[in-house]
């Protein structure tokens, strides 16, 4: 996992709510056995017509918006646990997703891949949509050290929450595995003493 650096970028607005992971990456693209290349099929059914031609008014296809930050309606990433959704967003170039809340499994998957989910209030999210849609060239700064989100041209700064352990992982570019692999002895000790383990095995 790459270290998470401070991001200054334009924002891509996608105001739909409850965007499920089937929309982010449809199941027919999950047949791959590697992690690479999912970005080209990100939002495939919204982005392309059935014959493969481009849906011109979809936000990822126009010239109006671009950037490393995706702004999306509430309950982003609900549904299937497919980590391919996080891989597809990252592969496309997104490093931050801003929403008023995220589905749990998507949130974990994003954090495990260096994609930062930033939770803001519903009111602030609405304000951001208005602002970004009115000024597509507006830049947003996401500083993980400070845990702040700054609308640069407006001088508006908001802080956001992230569990301290996950923050350290992102800043150091480490996933949970680094920590877990060091616990071998403790796990063996637990298995010896756990009453339940003895009952079941």
């Amino acid at each position: 996992m790459e270290k998470f650096e401070t991001i200054i970028s334009n924002v891509v607005p996608l105001p739909a709510e409850n965007i499920d992971t089937d929309q982010i990456i449809p199941a027919r693209f999950l047949k791959a056995t590697t992690k690479e290349g999912f970005g080209q099929n990100l939002f495939a059914d919204w982005r392309y017509h059935e014959d493969g031609s481009v849906v011109t008014d979809f936000v990822l296809n126009g010239d109006r918006y671009s950037g490393k930050i995706l702004l999306a309606g509430k309950n982003f990433g609900c549904g299937s646990s497919r980590e391919h959704a996080a891989w597809a967003l990252y592969d496309h170039g997104f490093r931050v997703v801003i929403s008023s809340y995220f589905a749990d499994i998507f949130r974990s998957n994003a954090l495990n891949n260096g994609l930062l989910p930033v939770r803001v209030s519903e009111a602030f999210l609405k304000q951001m949509f208005r602002w970004v849609e009115a000024f597509p060239s507006a830049k947003v700064k996401v500083d993980l050290h400070e845990q702040t989100l700054e609308l640069l041209d407006l001088g508006v700064k908001k802080s956001f929450e992230i569990p301290p352990f996950k923050k350290a992982c992102l800043l150091n570019g480490q996933d949970d595995m680094h920590f877990l692999l060091n616990l071998k002895e403790e796990v063996i000790e637990y298995e010896k003493t756990s009453k339940y383990m003895q009952l079941i095995n």
Binding site: N18, K31, E50, C78, R82, P163, P164, L183, V187
Partner: protein, 460 residues
């Protein structure tokens, strides 16, 4: 100190808690399938490490398999490669695989319970969101991503923040024609798709107590559809009777010791939850969804509500429905009975019972896909296969099938499908396909009459 059912299982599995951070949670059972595991196995190889506990793993193929001619090589070459990768990985890492043709093969969430691999008090994970199903046995079960699959393979542990806890109490007797699926669709329609985000839900109350294990699995299965990490139900005599004598359940002395422990797994009377909801099951009627998330459900006699909101309107546009529409009487041309929500033997019995001596409507394609080889064989032993064939249904071999448009079973663009599965997302059953979620009984009635009906009108 008073503890909830969740607390008791959680506490018994925490190896250590990091200060200001997550806990290290020991995982008793890890279910692995072909779609969300190849990158995890590749990760292990890249790190040069093996699988920590092969005995804690159950592996099968279900999502990306055909449901016809499973004895022949898979026609779709990319799917074949994924299934072969699963076989190679299991061989390489010493994991037993219930592959195609195996007596135990089927949908992960159907086979683990029926084999006695899922048992009360466990922690259980799988790279699939519907792992919540296993909570029906009084377990902490939840879906994980592929990075976490890799972590569990390597260490048998996960780092988890302790979630919030919600209690959903459902009381009362359901009326004739109303099933567990209607109850859970009703609850989701009340709480919304994000209503339980960040939480585990304990289902309790007299309605839940009266349910069979199959019905409880249907309820817990769909707890993810209101955003919950998982659902769970305290084990009771119904649970113990179900588990007893299952192939992998403990036997003899061990069974009695386990039973004694399982009987301690309930929420203490004065334990508290972060949120409480209660519902009356007597108010529940057969449900049907009209939109593109599982929270968009109404009872069969209601009209589509009148919300002025962009996402809602977009959803109706996709479904080609209008505000104020009634769904009853709308023509459908597909019925899918299957998926980890409703493909167990009890579901097949309910369908067979209803369609016996009837014929499906001429214009309907009625597909019924058992959740496991075991369910299929049981159905054959009971003559259910003959009843379904005579009614014009197509009975397939086990797999996830048309639930997720990944394998060959897809619903064509623009067509309506009454489906017993769990998700009605845009394109879920095929690009452009329109899914209406319902119970097996409502689906069977839709197949026979060729339109959405109130099944109660045809019951005596």
């Amino acid at each position: 100190m008073s503890r909830t059912l969740f607390d008791k299982i959680w506490d018994a599995h925490v190896i250590r808690t990091i200060e200001d951070g997550p806990s290290v949670l020991y995982i008793d059972k890890h279910l692995v399938h072909e779609v969300t595991s190849p990158q995890a196995f590749a990760g292990l190889e890249k790190r040069g490490i093996g699988v920590a506990r092969v005995k804690n793993i159950m592996a099968t193929v279900d999502h990306n398999v055909p449901t016809i001619n499973q004895h022949l090589p898979i026609k779709d070459l990319i799917s074949r490669k994924q299934v072969e990768t699963m076989e190679t990985n299991c061989k390489k890492f010493g994991i037993e695989l219930y592959g195609l043709g195996h007596l135990y093969q089927g949908i992960v969430h159907v086979i683990a319970p029926e084999l006695g691999i899922t048992l009360p008090g466990m922690t259980l994970v799988c790279g699939d969101s519907h792992t919540s199903t296993h909570g029906a046995f009084g377990t902490i079960s939840f879906g994980i991503g592929t990075s976490e699959v890799e972590q569990v393979l390597a260490t048998q542990c996960l780092l988890q923040e302790k979630p919030k806890q919600i209690k959903i109490e459902i009381n009362g007797k359901t009326s004739n024609g109303v099933s567990a699926k209607d109850v859970i669709l009703y609850v989701i329609s009340e709480l919304g798709t994000g209503g339980a985000t960040g939480a585990f839900v304990e289902f309790c109350g007299s309605t839940i107590r009266q349910m069979s294990m199959e019905e409880r699995m249907t309820v817990c299965n769909m707890s993810i559809e209101m955003g919950a990490r998982g659902g769970l139900i305290a084990p009771d005599e119904i649970t113990f009777a179900y588990c007893r004598n299952k192939p992998f359940a403990p036997k003899g002395k061990k069974w009695h010791a386990a039973l004694e422990y399982w009987k301690t797994l309930f929420t203490d009377a004065d334990a508290t939850f972060d949120k409480n909801f209660s519902f009356n099951a007597e108010a529940v009627a057969p449900m049907i969804t009209y939109g593109t998330n599982p929270g968009m459900g109404i009872n069969i006699n209601e009209r589509i509500p009148n919300h002025n909101e962009t996402s809602f309107e977009r959803s109706l546009e996709y479904m080609n429905f209008s505000k104020g529409d009634k769904l009853k009487g709308k023509k459908v041309n597909w019925v899918f009975i299957g998926s980890c929500t409703n493909s167990r033997i009890e579901d097949l019995r309910i369908v067979a019972d209803f369609v016996k001596g009837k014929k499906k409507a001429e214009w309907v394609n009625a597909l019924i896909v058992p959740g496991s080889r075991g369910v299929l064989m049981q159905a054959q032993a009971e003559g259910i296969d003959q009843i379904l064939l005579e009614a014009g249904f197509v009975l397939r071999e086990p797999g996830c099938s048309a639930c997720l448009a990944m394998n060959d079973d897809k619903i064509p663009a623009g067509d309506y499908c009454v489906s017993t599965s769990n998700r009605n997302f845009e394109g879920r059953q095929g690009p452009g396909a329109r899914t209406l979620l319902a119970s097996p009984l409502m689906a069977a009635a839709a197949a026979v009459y060729g339109e959405i009906t109130d099944v109660r009108e045809f019951l005596n």
